[in-house]
């Protein structure tokens, strides 16, 4: 689609980070699930996160969003410290995420899911306005191409539609930062291409994106930089091209055949 074929406008200078994680640690008993991980991501930038299964990638996301509390370190969202705050507070400040398994409120329709999410959107005033929420929800569905499925109960959606609905509910919150946990998993090749174009459009709209992914073709094409985790800690940080050549990354993550095209 258009967004991928047009080159992104050249950044005049390094823009300020909108999300910054400093030395995030998460302990489960004696296990250091996340071990001193730092990263920063700016508006319109995609940071990829890769690493072996069990490396702590999703747990890192959980500490950023507040699904679990970090044991140590600092998290700054638009300059404001958010470690220790509640999930919905972080959401209203502009943090949204999707999950590995495509979750939705199954008994609600597609549109109901979207406008429920919109009721948590950034900058929404205390005065309730259902029609504003519905409009925001409809706009989010249109961005992912689900507007025709608005009245379908979420339980009946096939996996690709569920994954798009999850992205739509995240977009309905008008995020500054979007965390995507394996958005390409389980998709066919055409669906992967369409999802890459969608994420490119979200990035071009100025959202900062952090994306956990094992589908290297997509990660390499989308990410400006990649952080590879291993045993909870940073193993590698650099460009996708550097990652594909890094001996340590090949040994513990990519494997012999994993030079990135697949």
């Amino acid at each position: 689609m258009a967004a991928l074929s047009e080159p992104a406008p050249a950044a005049p200078a390094a823009p300020a980070a909108v999300l910054e994680a400093r030395g995030i640690t998460k302990l489960y008993g004696g296990l250091r699930a996340v071990d001193g991980v730092s990263f920063a991501v700016a508006p319109g930038e995609v940071l990829g996160i890769a690493g072996p299964n069990g490396a702590g990638k999703t747990t890192l996301f959980d500490t950023i969003t507040g699904h679990t509390f970090a044991s140590g370190g600092d998290i700054l969202l638009a300059g404001e410290p958010i470690r220790g705050t509640k999930i919905h507070h972080r959401c209203r400040l502009g943090l949204a995420r999707t999950f590995q398994h495509p979750v939705a409120a199954d008994t609600l329709t597609v549109l109901e899911n979207a406008y429920l999410a919109a009721s948590f959107r950034r900058g929404r005033t205390g005065r309730r306005s259902r029609s504003d929420d519905v409009a925001a929800g409809q706009a989010a569905l249109a961005r992912v191409g689900l507007e025709d499925r608005a009245t379908v109960p979420a339980a009946l959606l096939p996996v690709y539609d569920r994954k798009r609905l999850m992205i739509a509910t995240a977009l309905a919150t008008d995020p500054l930062v979007l965390l995507l946990d394996e958005p390409f998993g389980g998709l066919s090749l055409g669906e992967i291409d369409a999802t890459m174009a969608l994420i490119g459009q979200i990035r071009d709209a100025g959202v900062a994106i952090v994306c956990i992914e094992h589908v290297m073709r997509a990660l390499v094409a989308l990410a400006d930089r990649v952080l590879v985790m291993h045993h909870g800690a940073e193993l590698f940080a650099g460009t996708p091209a550097e990652m594909l050549k890094d001996r340590r990354v090949i040994d513990v993550y990519l494997g012999a055949g994993g030079s990135g095209a697949a």
Partner: protein, 244 residues
């Protein structure tokens, strides 16, 4: 060879929506069939209808010549159908090893559980590393590996595997497919394996079936389908750029 699995005129789905719509499939004893197709076209539903997790609306499913459609899932499991599901379906408050042992419960496999455990651990060292951990503490990818390990805990007649590459790191996908290639070369169970695309299945399939809109629309050896321009453009898009 007799057929491990025969499916005739299968119609299946959920509530009133038909997903599998008149599907025929035969898998010989010890053979590996790979079913490829786009999302939402019925691959997972096919496996669920075979293993009895959903009841077919119409049609026949035979295991070794015996009708199993309409039977309860646990009865079908006892007869030798092992289903490695896409959702891992683990018991989250049990340890990894306890979850594996659950795989040896049906159909008189309990006596061989120690040997089976040893085998799983040697094939999937990442699973052994976590054997004392509760399943809920595992990452999504680790759970998938435990699900596959549980499927290897008994000797079934038919092993159904739903998207073994999903959610796994590239190096873990290589490891899983190495395990599947060994299972296949032993030819002790017939295998039906599902994937979204052809990226990983080249060395695994005796026959590849393409499932579209609830039916098998093409079948043939991997090499034959890979040489077909239409099939390549529709389903193998990435193979030209794939390294292996």
């Amino acid at each position: 060879m007799s057929a491990a699995l025969t499916v005739r005129g299968l119609v299946a789905g959920y509530d009133r929506s038909v997903v599998i719509d008149g599907l025929d499939l035969e898998v010989a004893d010890g053979a590996t069939a790979v079913v490829i197709g786009p999302n939402g076209h019925g691959k997972t539903t096919l496996l669920r209808a075979v293993s009895g997790l959903i009841k077919p609306f119409r049609g026949e499913v035979e295991l070794g010549g015996e009708r199993i459609d309409g039977m309860a899932a646990e009865a079908i499991a006892k007869k030798g159908v092992v289903h490695v599901m896409q959702g891992d379906g683990l018991f989250v408050e049990m340890t990894v090893e306890e979850n594996l042992l659950m795989g040896a419960f049906p159909g008189g496999s309990w006596r061989g559980r120690r040997a089976a455990l040893k085998r799983v651990y040697s094939e999937l060292p990442a699973v052994e590393e976590r054997k004392g951990h509760k399943a809920r503490t595992l990452s999504g990818g680790e759970r998938r590996l435990v699900g596959l390990g549980r499927g290897m805990m008994r000797q079934g007649r038919l092993l159904l595997i739903d998207e073994p590459s999903l959610g796994l790191a590239p190096v873990a996908i290589e490891a899983v497919y190495a395990v599947i290639r060994r299972l296949r070369s032993e030819a002790s169970s017939a295998i039906v394996l599902i994937e979204e695309n052809f990226t990983h299945v080249g060395g695994v399939a005796d026959v590849v079936h393409i499932l579209e809109a609830g039916r098998i629309v093409r079948s043939g050896p991997f090499a034959e389908l890979a040489a077909d321009r239409t099939v390549v453009e529709t389903y193998l898009g990435s193979i030209a750029e794939a390294p292996s």
